[in-house]
Symmetry: C2
Subunit: 156 residues, 2 copies
């Protein structure tokens, strides 16, 4: 049976390359100890430990949650575009903090449906610029704690 | 002529105490080198250097901008409540990235009008819990680059 998953070795390489890119290009990701955990089944997961990302209440700091969610969007878009000349920027975002995150941060950015991705890619290839809205959730023990939605723009 | 400004020495003490609180309680603020710059005329200003907060394009990282804006809201609310037993949390926020920030980050949280602050304080004193919406702007060379609005809750 054919699989939609990227080839295992190549997926692992993509993950390591993306993490290295984040650490090189955005120094705060090193201080936050952000890791790229997985990229499969149309989802990209980033993680960051609570020890360096907690707030005055010992739960995850809202700014860290917003930053990890933003990074998950950036990283998914880099992986979707697969064009080294492409720049990704964020235009706007909304974030709902529903419940405190009491452990390490795990942010999952879900790739939009195939039709939306195809429309985004076609527009990017034709004009060198395209925008897309990406949802990110941060859950703990099966409960959604944080919901983020960001509008990102890719520019060649 | 009477002045609305807090007494100079006490304002400086408040600033230093707030900065120390941020650095002690939220470790990421040390990595981000966040400073409390001023608290006067109903405005609280935080700053953070570009050198440790830049992104892959050499401009301020969206996650740092969101984090500094969130901190400006927290800090203003701490200063408004003046109750050491009070916890401040963020419920939701929206952020618009209008222009890239090409230098150090300067985030200004403006205190809502006197009526809104009085209503917030009365509700907090009566029920031990109150919410307030706080706007934060990040400008450079007189141009607003980032607009943030956060809903914060103070709980005793």
């Amino acid at each position: 049976m054919p699989s939609d998953k990227p080839h295992a070795a190549s997926a692992e390489q993509l993950i390591r390359r993306t993490e290295a890119l984040l650490h090189e290009q955005i120094p705060l990701t090193r201080a936050m100890q952000v890791r790229v955990v997985r990229f499969d089944d149309g989802e990209l997961e980033l993680a960051a430990p609570l020890t360096v990302n907690h707030n005055h209440l010992g739960t995850a700091f809202g700014g860290s949650l917003a930053a990890v969610a933003t990074l998950a969007g950036y990283a998914l878009l880099w992986l979707l575009v697969e064009d080294p000349t492409c720049h990704v920027v964020i235009r706007r975002s909304t974030i709902q903090y529903r419940h405190p995150v009491r452990g390490d941060i795990h942010a999952v950015c879900r790739q939009p449906d195939a039709e939306a991705v195809a429309a985004f890619r076609t527009h990017f290839e034709r004009t060198g610029k395209a925008r897309i809205t990406l949802p990110v959730t941060i859950a703990q023990d099966g409960r959604t704690c944080v919901e983020f939605e960001g509008e990102f723009v890719a520019v060649r």
